[in-house]
Amino acid sequence: MSYFLLRRTIGFLATLVAVSVVVFAVMNVLPGDPALTILGLDATDDALAALRDDLGLNDPLLARYFGWVAGALVGDFGTSHSFRVPVAELIAERLPMTLSLAVAGMILTLIIALTVGIYAASHHGKPGDWITMFLSQLGIAIPAFWLSILLVLLFAVNLRWLPPGGFAGWSDPVAAMRSLVLPTVALALVQSAVLARVTRSSALEVMRQDFTRTARASGFSQRRILWRHVLPNALVPIVTIVGMQFAALVTGTIVIENVFYLPGLGRLIFQSIANRDLPTVQALVMLFAVIVVTANFVVDLLYVLIDPRLKART
């Protein structure tokens, strides 16, 4: 058990270090002179020198890398070049929006996917199965941003039930929730298409196993068998996909925030790209990568919680 934990934790930390090296290298080595990238070709030499000084570009690369990592570890990502405030402040302001979108999207994804997947599995080979599987096949092929546009067309432009985008803050919670409905649904529908398929095939696999027959021979209802016996056993592959999906979901928020003009990290990234604000982009990309890697690490740990057999083996 502890050996397993130790190995996974070391692997996780090593991946984080490697990710930080890649991000740093791409953002600092590839451009040649980051100051020139930021200010553009028509910048004066004085301005360039001042900025280099500001960003510490005159230090050796290795020193800059360690400086960046050390700062990041205590929540100091440097100063945004365009907003002229600490990047950490920008992130703190916008993180709640992105996280609430991702978490709400994940919850909705799970609800839809598990229900649809279990439904399809229990109707295996019948029309209910075919229809849901056809819809999920379609769902996989639909880009989230187009689905968003379609939802806006229907619910905002035509029916006028929900706002087409924007976010006015939490001071009016009802209005805030209303502006998050479409983004969440758009995010979740596409993700749940993949997960529903995984749930279905995993559940079908479990339903073929002997203990499902034992449960049936014990006189339990179909419903009880599906949710209490089949689903928990089907969870291992589902959790694997959920881990990857949470990653996809978090990056999906980047797209969705831009579709719906929501003031989260995704919008911030694009504003920073437009402003050539390298320190901010670097911090945000690193943050997203960390979330992705962490999600996969957490999934590894979840396996142990789900399956007592793993605990014995590790």
Partner: protein
């Protein structure tokens, strides 16, 4: 030969349609897709402009056709580039094994930490947004995927008797890889490539929608959608057609890939 799986047939038909249209656009489109005609803006469908015109009076059908060509090209280049690097790495890993294999696989793990979007964002921030950067980003995420596929199927082939025999006969690993391993993993790689083609089309559309891909005046389904979004109250139909095109292409390659997999690996087909 048993009956072809339904997903293969449907996928093949959709792919043939999309690729056919893309190829046709090389030699013929109803109009020049970039031809502006402000007076004919937001034109309704007619016998001249089959699906009507956009906000600048450009012919929609011609734009969609040109976009199909661009989308196919991006996906092809990205999957070929990422795929060949990935397959080479995977073959290397499975031929040499040991620490080389370990390093390649750890690098592949690392690749999974960067979704295409994040990579494209970094490149856009450094070099400015461009279609080339989008292609590079999509190619990059394909490397670990193909490295894994090539290594996993390569390792299986390395244990086959005829490979062991070739080794016993003193053939070197490089020759064996080219003569025996590569031809035998081709099926798995092609299946993966078809599926990744669908993913690449989706990724290009998303990047172009976000402004990180195709730049004006190049036609792109994703960019057409981002322009249409601002005109949703005026001309909602502009937001429909490009999306339908994306879905057709992605669905086609996805189904074709699934169908090919069902045909080449019945074990996997059953497991799904």
């Amino acid at each position: 030969m048993k009956q072809l799986p339904a997903n293969f047939i449907i996928g093949a038909v959709l792919v043939a349609f999309v690729v056919g249209v893309a190829a046709l656009s090389l030699i013929w489109t109803p109009h020049d897709p970039t031809d502006l005609n402000i007076r004919a803006k937001f034109g309704a469908p007619s016998h001249v402009n089959w699906l009507g015109t956009d906000q600048l009076g450009r012919d929609l059908v011609s734009q969609l056709m040109a976009a199909a060509r661009n989308s196919m090209t991006v996906a092809l280049v990205a999957v070929l580039l990422g795929g060949s690097i990935g397959v080479a790495l995977g073959l290397l890993a499975s031929a040499i094994g040991g620490w080389v294999e370990d390093i390649v696989m750890r690098l592949a793990d690392l690749g999974f930490a960067f979704p295409a979007l994040l990579f494209a964002i970094m490149l856009a921030a450094v070099f400015g947004p461009s279609l080339t950067n989008a292609v590079l980003a999509i190619a990059f995420i394909n490397i670990p995927i193909f490295a894994r596929v090539a290594r996993a199927s390569g390792n299986q082939i390395w244990t086959r008797e005829y490979v062991l025999a070739a080794r016993a006969a003193g053939m070197n690993k490089f020759t064996i890889t080219l003569d025996h391993i590569l031809p035998n993993i081709a099926a798995a790689v092609i299946v993966q490539a078809t599926i990744e083609f669908a993913v690449a089309i989706l990724a290009e559309a998303a990047l172009s929608y976000l402004g990180l891909g195709a730049q004006p005046p190049a036609s792109s389904w994703g960019r057409m959608l981002s322009e249409a979004q601002t005109l949703m109250y005026l001309a909602p139909e502009l937001a429909i057609y490009p999306g339908l095109c994306i879905v057709t292409a992605v669905l086609g390659f996805g189904l074709l890939g699934d169908g090919l997999r069902d045909m080449t690996d019945p074990r996997l087909a059953r497991a799904r």
